[in-house]
Symmetry: C2
Subunit: 427 residues, 2 copies
């Protein structure tokens, strides 16, 4: 040890890390998400953490959120930046590998992304997103507008979260309805309605007051209150685009009618300009102000900045870190042990070979096994297992001719067992 | 589609990405690695991709390889950098969470790391490392010096690689032997011997010629040629440190005597100054010049820059990306399908509900299932499955009362089946 002044090991704001027992739950979550994605035949891709800066800003995103990389050998300063989402990398990937992919290209991507924002509740600078997209050449079957929320529903269900909904809408309904009302700039109104969660209906009315007739404002807000396709039809507003949007929405809702958590919500607009049809937004029922736990929608063209082929798609993104951090801070994670071990094998005095053989036999049968690391007193070895949360302590025979024994630390029960046949039982 | 000039979607040198069929193999590899680590009870941790710059350089590493992050809101330029290995983050983590960890702390960490080096064969700027370390307060049982290479052996075996070895040595043997020869600066000699792979024995002799007596040089090179502990003892050089090192090495080799790929190699030095006992270096038998596929060793103190407790440890790192890229470029990966799907369910005309129900029944039984996305001609649907490498195509009954059928695309065989009992068979 040196006497040099210490560098204090403090956390960096916005860059979370977890202790082992929390990480173990995170891994379990990630496993379930991957399993759900693959159950529907989506393939995994990963892209580099960095893209060239011109790729990152090709869609006109503001560059202040992008972390640029400092100079490395042979590179100009600021040529590369860390990706801030998984959509831009997907667009670049699809364009770059266009001739090697089979379309419709159904991919999932679970990776860290970075944003140089000021950290706040639920917002990190480095976080994990789980994205699910289907892209195709020229057109994407409506089939996928219904399949994606079904998969995300399966994911969210598997995570044992408190009540949530996936709210669905269709941009054509909003735009068609506003056009039917005679509104000249529907996109402008969509942008205002998108703020309804934050500023309320009165706030939106205030934003629209100087642009629309009072009757139009009332109708816009009336639509945002509705939760039922037929009720929209009953309002009597007519436009071809509205009919098209309602038909699409009807299909999606009918396909998902077995899932009570999927609801239609005409206040969902998703501010991003590139959504053109179905849009999604998932929320916690009891924490609506926490913002979206998943979101997405249909877009007319993904990779127009990179390739002269039209690649429309539909996608959803699960805000993994947002959800996980919320569960952690709300004390709802139900964390357990800090090790994946099922069993700790005790190392008895002068019986190293017996203990090693026992650990090997159990590992060969698929158990995760820690072999204790030195000939400490048995009580100390058991205490170590208990502190790590290893559920079972295994005692190899301390003398030849005696049986193996295993102690269940939850019940305190200790029984004679055979390493060739033992099972955890309670599983 | 706009008429704007395109941003060309070209790869960034040193930042690899894979097509879906390659990524599928990569995922399988990562699963096997994780399973092996967990089978021995090691817990997973992940740390942020960035550390404060003062943490990254605390060990005196050169800073030119570090990618610094550009300014983000509320931050000074260059305060943060991407980690260049997983050892510095582990040291910071152990110090920061010292009071919350159970020691010996046995962790594995599979993450991307970044180095701003000039890209070359087997060297990337972003790559994945798989690290396995045990750290403890004040001392680490020799037990782990043998356990780590056993785990890594299990990992490498599971990856079906061409022949490799894990070469083991002990720094105390080198240092003790050189001291026994009367050499004043053994560390200096270790640094020279470490280059033997690159410059050969003659090159090392040249480096040492002006510092050592000819007899000393001969003895140093003689030791480097040996592959057997007893042969070293027979050389008759004596020092307490040498005896200690040979005893440690004896223990490790005895514990691993069932693994023919683990060999003693007195030419292994590992240049890093912080190794103090056992050292490891894995190599491909047929590509020794490709460099280490895994490496590691025992260190006296890990986190001395961050905490006033002595935390010695022993660790190994698997160069995941190096190995994977080599297998890929050598054509040895054996890649297959570009989707995890076991089955493609055909969507017959006007029978959407039947097809959806079939897909669900198969998914509920644990299969990965793609449901085809529109009512295309059946031949087109089969062709899609074939192009993606889906092994089975499932035909739900095209009329009521007829049976399900499944076609094995590998054999062309098509048979009547029951979705409640069907299995892949060939697995």
């Amino acid at each position: 040890m040196s006497d040099q002044p210490l560098v204090r090991p403090v956390p960096v704001g916005g860059f979370p890390e977890w202790l082992p027992h929390v990480r173990l739950v995170e891994l379990r979550w990630l496993d379930r998400i991957r399993a759900a994605f693959e159950r529907y035949g989506f393939c995994s891709i990963e892209t580099p953490s960095v893209e060239r800066m011109e790729v990152l800003v090709a869609k006109g995103e503001t560059s202040k959120e992008v972390y640029a990389l400092g100079r490395a050998q042979g590179e100009e300063e600021g040529q590369l930046g860390l990706h801030f989402d998984l959509t831009v990398p997907l667009a670049r990937y699809a364009a770059q590998h266009f001739n090697e992919l089979v379309f419709p290209f159904k991919r999932y991507q679970v990776q860290r992304v970075w944003r140089g924002e000021r950290p706040q509740d639920g917002r990190f600078r480095e976080f994990t997103q789980c994205d699910l997209d289907v892209i195709n050449v020229d057109d994407v079957p409506l089939h996928f507008d219904a399949e994606l929320p079904r998969i995300v529903h399966e994911v969210l269900t598997s995570l044992d979260l408190p009540a949530w909904t996936i709210n669905v809408n269709n941009r054509k309904v909003l735009q068609g309805f506003y056009e039917g009302l005679g509104i000249a700039d529907p996109v402008d109104v969509i942008r205002a309605v998108d703020k309804i969660d934050k500023i309320g209906a009165d706030g939106v009315a205030g934003l629209l007051a100087d642009r629309l007739e009072p009757g139009q404002v009332d109708a816009v807000l009336e639509l945002a209150r509705l939760r039922d396709v037929e009720a929209v039809r009953r309002l009597g507003v007519r436009s071809a685009l509205l009919d098209e949007g309602l038909a699409e929405l009807d299909f999606v809702l009918r396909e998902l009618s077995d899932l009570p958590e999927v609801v239609v919500d005409f206040s969902i607009a998703r501010g991003l300009d590139y959504y053109t049809g179905t849009v999604y937004e998932g929320k916690f029922a009891d924490w609506p102000e926490y913002g979206a736990i998943c979101s997405g929608g249909r877009y007319d063209d993904l990779a127009g900045s990179f390739i002269r082929r039209r690649l429309p798609g539909v996608g959803m993104s699960i805000g993994f870190s947002r959800i996980f951090a919320k569960m952690l801070s709300a004390g709802l994670l139900g964390t357990g042990p800090s090790t994946p071990a099922d069993v700790l094998v005790v190392l008895p005095k002068d019986r190293r070979q017996v203990a090693t053989g026992t650990a090997k036999a159990l590992r060969d049968r698929g158990f995760n096994v820690e072999l204790y690391h030195q000939e400490d007193k048995v009580a100390k070895q058991v205490r170590y297992a208990s502190r790590k949360g290893v559920p079972f302590v295994w005692f190899p025979p301390f003398e030849d001719g005696r049986p193996h024994e295993v102690k269940d630390l939850a019940t305190g029960e200790q029984t004679a067992v055979d390493p060739a046949t033992w099972s955890r039982g309670r599983d």
